[in-house]
Symmetry: C2
Subunit: 402 residues, 2 copies
C-alpha cells in the first residue's frame, strides 16, 4: 500500500496543477537526459496524483499517492515528504493522511493496556490536572493529589506548562507524590496513574524519562508537538519506557487552526499520534472551552481508537458534559478535567466524586433504556437538575451547568 494524502486547496488555486507540483516536487523533482540511466529508479520514487475533487464550496481536494520507499516509517520523514517544502508554496491544507497499517509504531499500552493496568474495564476513566499550573511546591502537589486520590481518580497529569522548574523540580514532584499514590492504591485497590511531564533537550528528555520511571513514575506526559514526533517515537519504542505515554496537543493550533494552511486537527492529533506510538492523546472537546468542531473531534477519536489509542477530550470538561461525552464515545474515553475537578465548590475530592456520580447516573439511564423501561431523561440528554439529589454532582451542575 502507498501513502495517500488529501490536500485541500481554497478557491482561486488550480488544484490539478498544484497536485502535480506536489507529486513531483515533493519526490524526485525533474531530471534531464544525463540521468536517463536512472529513469526506472526515479519512477519508483515518484508520487502520483490519484484524483482531484471539487467541493460544493468551491474548494478542491486533491489526493496524492506517495511511495513508502521514500520515507523511513516515522512521522518526521513523512512530514518532510508530504508537506516539507510545499508548505511554503501557498495556501493548502492537509486534511487526511492514509498510511499503511504497519506504518510507524503501535501504542505499547493504549486503551487495553491502560485499562488492564488500572483494572477498570467497563467505564470511562476520570483524569484530573494539577492546578494552579505554576508556583506550587512539590509538597503542594502531594497535598492536592491526596485530596483527589481517595475519591478514586484514575489518572492525574501535570499541567503541560509545568516543566522541570526550580520552584518544583520534576523528580521532586514525583517523589513527593509517590507515597500518596501508594496509599491510594492501598485504599482503592487500583493504581492511580500520574502522567509526569517529561521535558528537556531530546537527549536529556529521553534520559529523564528513564530516571522518572526508575524513581517510580507510572505514566508520562509529553508535549509532542513542541518537542517533536521523533521524541515520542523514541520513547514509544524504548523497552525501558514501561509506562503509558499521554500525548499533549500544545501548539496544535499553530499547525491546525488556520482555514487554508497546515493540517486538519484530525490528521495531526489523530492519525499521526496514533502512528507515532502515543498511548493516549489529549485534544479539545467540541463542547469544551476551546473552539473545536465536532467533525474534527470525531476524526481524532476514530483515528486513535482504530489503533487502540485512548482518546482524551479535554479543556472545559466538567461533570455536566458527561451525557454528551458518553453519547459520543461510549466507555472508551478518558474524561480529563482541570478546573472542572480542582475548582469544585466542595473541593477537589468532591470534583472527582461528581464525575463518578455523573457516570453512574448515565450508566443507570442506559440500563433502564436497555430494559425498555421509560425514563424521563434519555441517555445523551443533558442532566435534569431536578432529578439529581443533593451532593457533589448537583453542586457541580449548579456551578458549571448541565
Amino acid at each position: 500500500m502507498k501513502i495517500e494524502v488529501d490536500y485541500r486547496f481554497p478557491v482561486g488555486i488550480d488544484p490539478e496543477r498544484q497536485a502535480k507540483v506536489i507529486a513531483l516536487g515533493q519526490t524526485v523533482g525533474t531530471w534531464d537526459a544525463s540521468f536517463a540511466h536512472r529513469e526506472a529508479s526515479f519512477h519508483k520514487h515518484q508520487g502520483e496524483v490519484a484524483q482531484v475533487e471539487r467541493q460544493d464550496d468551491g474548494t478542491a481536494i486533491a489526493t496524492v499517492r506517495f511511495p513508502t520507499i521514500n520515507v523511513e516509517g516515522d512521522i518526521a520523514s513523512l512530514l518532510t515528504m508530504i508537506f516539507g517544502k510545499y508548505s511554503m508554496a501557498g495556501p493548502a491544507k492537509v486534511v487526511d493522511v492514509r498510511l499503511p497499517e504497519d506504518y510507524g509504531q503501535r501504542a505499547k499500552f493504549g486503551i487495553s493496556g491502560v485499562r488492564s493496568r488500572l483494572g477498570v474495564l467497563d467505564r470511562p476513566l476520570v483524569m484530573a490536572i494539577f492546578k494552579p499550573a505554576l508556583g506550587l511546591s512539590a509538597a503542594d502537589h502531594a497535598q492536592i493529589l491526596g485530596e483527589v486520590a481517595g475519591a478514586g481518580l484514575d489518572v492525574i497529569k501535570d499541567d503541560e506548562i509545568l516543566g522541570n522548574l526550580e520552584s518544583a523540580p520534576t523528580l521532586e514532584r514525583l517523589r513527593a507524590c509517590l507515597p500518596v499514590l501508594d496509599a491510594a492504591q492501598q485504599r482503592t485497590g487500583k493504581p492511580l496513574l500520574y502522567a509526569v511531564n517529561v521535558t528537556g533537550r531530546a537527549d536529556q528528555l529521553l534520559a529523564q524519562a528513564k530516571r522518572l520511571i526508575e524513581a517510580g513514575a507510572n505514566a508520562l506526559l509529553l508535549n509532542v508537538l513542541t518537542y517533536g514526533f521523533s521524541v515520542l517515537e523514541a520513547l514509544a519504542q524504548d523497552p525501558e519506557i514501561t509506562v503509558p505515554i499521554f500525548a499533549h496537543p500544545a501548539l496544535a493550533g499553530a499547525l491546525c487552526g488556520a482555514p487554508d494552511h497546515g493540517f486538519s486537527y484530525g490528521v495531526l492529533l489523530g492519525t499521526l499520534m496514533a502512528h507515532a506510538g502515543a498511548d493516549a492523546v489529549l485534544y479539545p472537546a467540541h463542547y469544551g472551552s476551546l473552539p473545536f468542531s465536532a467533525a474534527e473531534e470525531r476524526h481524532i477519536r476514530d483515528a486513535l481508537r482504530d489503533r487502540n489509542v485512548f482518546p482524551v477530550p479535554s479543556a472545559g470538561i466538567h461533570p455536566g458534559i458527561v451525557p454528551k461525552a458518553i453519547a459520543d464515545y461510549g466507555i472508551d474515553v478518558i474524561l480529563n478535567a482541570g478546573t472542572g475537578i480542582m475548582d469544585h465548590p466542595d473541593g477537589a475530592a468532591a470534583g472527582v466524586q461528581a464525575f463518578f456520580e455523573a457516570l453512574n447516573v448515565e450508566a443507570q439511564k442506559a440500563k433502564a433504556q436497555n430494559a425498555n423501561a421509560q425514563s424521563q431523561t434519555q441517555p445523551g440528554q443533558p442532566f435534569d437538575l431536578d432529578q439529581i439529589p443533593p451532593g457533589p454532582l448537583r453542586r457541580a451542575l449548579e456551578k458549571w451547568g448541565t
Copy 2:
C-alpha cells in the same frame, strides 16, 4: 530580562482581553483562597500584559511579558508557554519574540566558524543541492559531487527529502562522496562541506549524527521542524558534534504561512533557530520561487546574524539574483542553489562557475563604485547581459534571466 512576545490579533478580536487570557492562562491560571499561602510564588510566575497597540489596518499587537523562571532555557518549553494551549483558542499570530541574550544556545560554528573551516573570509559562500532528490545511488552522488567539487563549490547538501533510504543509505552516500571531497580539497586547497541529512527517531538520529561524523562527515543537515527543536538543541550542545549544523525549514509553511495563525517566519526561522544552536539556516529568498516577503527575509537575516548564524536564502536561487542578494546581505550569506546549479545548460560545474563569475562581477562593480569611477551598471542593479562575456554566467543568465 523577561521574555517578551508580540501577538497579532485580527480585526474582530478583543486584544486587551486576549492578552490577559494569555498572560494568566499560559502561566499560573487562576487560584482560590485555599492557595492564599502561595500567592507570592504565583505572582513570580505570572505573565503580564506590557502593551496593546492598534495598527492602521485594524489588527492589534499585544505584548505579553513572561518570567524566564517558567521555562527551561530551551525552545520547546518556550513554545509550550507562549503558545501551547492558547494556539487552539482562536486566531492569533506570534509575530515577534524577544529573548534574553543568554537564552538557549549559541552556534558552535556559525558565520565565523564556517568561514574559518573553509578559509574563505571575504565573499559569500556558494552552496549546491544534490538533484534529483530521490532515486540516485550513492555512486551517482559521488559523480555529481565530482562535477561541482572541482569548480570550487563551498558547500553541498542532500535534498531535505532524501533520508536514510534503501536506494542510497546515508552512510553509503557519505562514504562514496568522501574521496571526492578529499580530492577537491587537494585541488582547491579548501574543504568542501557536505551537509549530510541526518534523520530517524530522536535516539537514532543523535546516534546516527555521531556515526556520520566518525565516518568523516564535515557538516550535517537537519529538518528542524519535522524532527523537533529539541533534537537540534541536543546536537548543538553535544561536544561530539564537531561539525556545523545546517537547519532546513521544511514544514515552516504549516506553522507560518497563514495570515492570522501560527508564527511569523522571522520568529520561527530567525529568532528560534538562532537560540537553538543552528550554525546556518535555510529559508526562502523573497526573489526566489516561493512566495515570501522581503520583510520576513530581513527579520530572519537580522535575527540570525545578530547571533553569528549564517543566513542561507534558498529556493529558486540562480546566478541572476546575485546582485540583489549582495545588496541585501553583503558578503555574510550563503547562496544555495539546487537546479540553479545542477541544471546549468553546460552542466553542474558550469553552474558553480557561473555563481563565482557573478560574485566577481559584483565585486568589481563595488570596487569601481568605491573608487568613484563611473560604471554603466551599479552594484545591486540586475546584470546587463550585453556586458557579460560569453561563458558560464552568460549562459546561466540566458536560461534563468537577470
